[in-house]
């Protein structure tokens, strides 16, 4: 029986790290961008807005990396 435990472990750890990283970064962005909500008519602070969009942009770049992995023509 030839079970590739190393590859399995690698897949498990990568999935865990990647999922938590992307969800965490995107959520951080959402926290920043919705930070003013709750107070009536309030909008997020300018710093929060910039930081929020930066987080969303980082998530977007991770999506582009995913596309790079999916599309074989890039390799």
């Amino acid at each position: 029986m030839n079970i590739n435990w190393g590859a399995l472990g690698l897949v498990a750890v990568t999935t865990l790290v990647a999922a938590i990283a992307v969800v965490g970064i995107f959520s951080l962005g959402v926290v920043a961008l919705t930070s003013g909500a709750g107070r009536a008519g309030a909008v997020p602070h300018a710093v929060a807005r910039v930081a929020g969009y930066a987080c969303i942009a980082v998530s977007g770049m991770l999506v582009l990396y995913g596309l790079y992995l999916i599309i074989p023509q890039f390799h």
Binding site: L8, L10, T15, V22, F26, L28, V30, V31
Partner: protein, 383 residues
């Protein structure tokens, strides 16, 4: 028309039929949570998934070197055995669809092939250690890995954002979910669209209609892409309902966490040499997103039925594949008989599904897929 050409044509038609069932079985993987949370309208969701599936099929046309990745001994496999294997896989796919159960189309195909090869070539045709290392072990690990990752991601998400289920946060998660769901659809197209192309190409080569070592013909790529795309667009609403509402009543943040985890797991598994079934990854992520949210309700009875379905996939498809091989290998008449039986079986399953149909209109109206509406208590499969 020569007998060979007739057999080859029949195998190709059956392979495309399998590709179609593969599409509607798996469109829920990419889009079920987006449909359930209202991130996308049902018809829009399946249209996006279908387009990305077709795009994926065209992007990745590297010929598969083996049909089964070593699970059966490809040297002894004949077009008729492939045909019988496909019949087993199609009928199992339709059966699980009727019951609204997500199950792996690849495992169904492997099961069908194993049954057909056992009948056609005996025990030596099947590599049982590969069955364990490539099917059984991944089937256990996929939901565990995806469930754990999605559970932790969901937990962290709700810790960071107390009002994640409410607007305006939920709107952001719906957007994120649409993107991650689309990634799954594209990745699915590159892997599964290519599977049918590989089957058809190998049959053409075996029968001497194509040079050995050449890639799939343009018409094969187009036909396989179209079949999986049409299947995806038709939606598989029964499975969509189970995955979006039946296992967990998915909210936008959970859907986002689940789809992102699934995309990460699928990419990791296809690039690190340990194949995991897309269906099992996506179902595991959805379960994890239910456990990870405080007090979220996971319907374990439904989850248990799904696990039983996974355990049954291989032997059930093998049984049908074996029976189909036993008849089809007797000659052309047997082959035609099996094909007619396939059409009849598919017709009956479709007719039964019409008693309590699930469509894009009513997919979100309930969490339950009913088989017999006259007596729902007895036949209710997904509670």
């Amino acid at each position: 028309m020569s007998t060979t050409l007739f057999v080859v044509s029949l195998v190709i038609v059956t392979a495309l039929f399998f590709d179609f069932t593969n599409g509607f079985h798996d469109s829920a993987n990419a889009m079920a949570t987006s449909v359930a949370t209202g991130a996308l309208k049902p018809k829009t969701a399946v249209l996006i998934a279908a387009i990305l599936n077709v795009a994926g099929a065209f992007l990745s046309t590297e010929v598969a070197k083996t049909i089964s990745g070593g699970i059966v001994n490809d040297a002894v496999v004949t077009p008729t055995m492939i045909f019988a294997g496909l019949v087993g896989a199609i009928l199992w796919n339709l059966m699980t669809w009727l019951f609204g159960l997500p199950s792996s189309s690849s495992h169904a195909l492997f099961g069908g092939l194993i049954g057909a090869v056992l009948i056609g070539a005996g025990l030596s045709g099947v590599n049982f250690s590969v069955v364990v290392s490539k099917i059984l072990l991944p089937a256990l690990m996929a939901p565990l890995v995806a469930g754990l990752a999605a559970g932790l991601a969901t937990l962290i998400l709700y810790k960071m954002i107390k009002k994640a289920d409410q607007e305006p946060a939920a709107a952001w998660f719906r957007r994120g979910q649409t993107v991650s769901g689309s990634m799954i659809a594209l990745a699915h197209g590159t892997s599964d669209g290519q599977k049918t192309m590989g089957v058809i190409t190998l049959v053409l080569i075996t029968a001497g209609y194509q040079e050995s070592g050449t890639g799939p013909e343009m018409w094969v790529i187009a036909a396989a892409g179209l079949a999986i795309g049409l299947g995806t667009y038709s939606g598989g609403w029964r499975i969509m309902r189970t995955m979006g509402k039946g296992l967990v009543d998915v909210k936008a943040p959970q859907g986002f966490a689940a789809e992102t985890t699934s995309a990460a797991a699928i990419l990791a598994s296809s690039h690190m040499g340990f194949g995991l079934s897309t269906t099992q990854v996506c179902s595991g992520s959805i379960l994890g997103s239910g456990v990870g949210k405080k007090l979220a309700e996971v319907r374990w009875t439904t989850a248990r039925k799904m696990f039983y379905g996974w355990l049954l996939t291989l032997p059930a498809a093998a049984l049908v594949g074996g029976a189909a091989a036993a008849i089809a290998l007797t000659g052309t008449l047997g082959l035609v008989l099996v094909f007619v039986a396939l059409l009849a079986g598919a017709g009956v399953i479709y007719a039964v599904s019409r008693r309590a149909p699930v469509s894009s209109e009513n997919v979100n109206d309930s969490a339950v897929v009913v088989i017999n509406p006259a007596n729902p208590d007895k036949t209710q499969v997904v509670v």
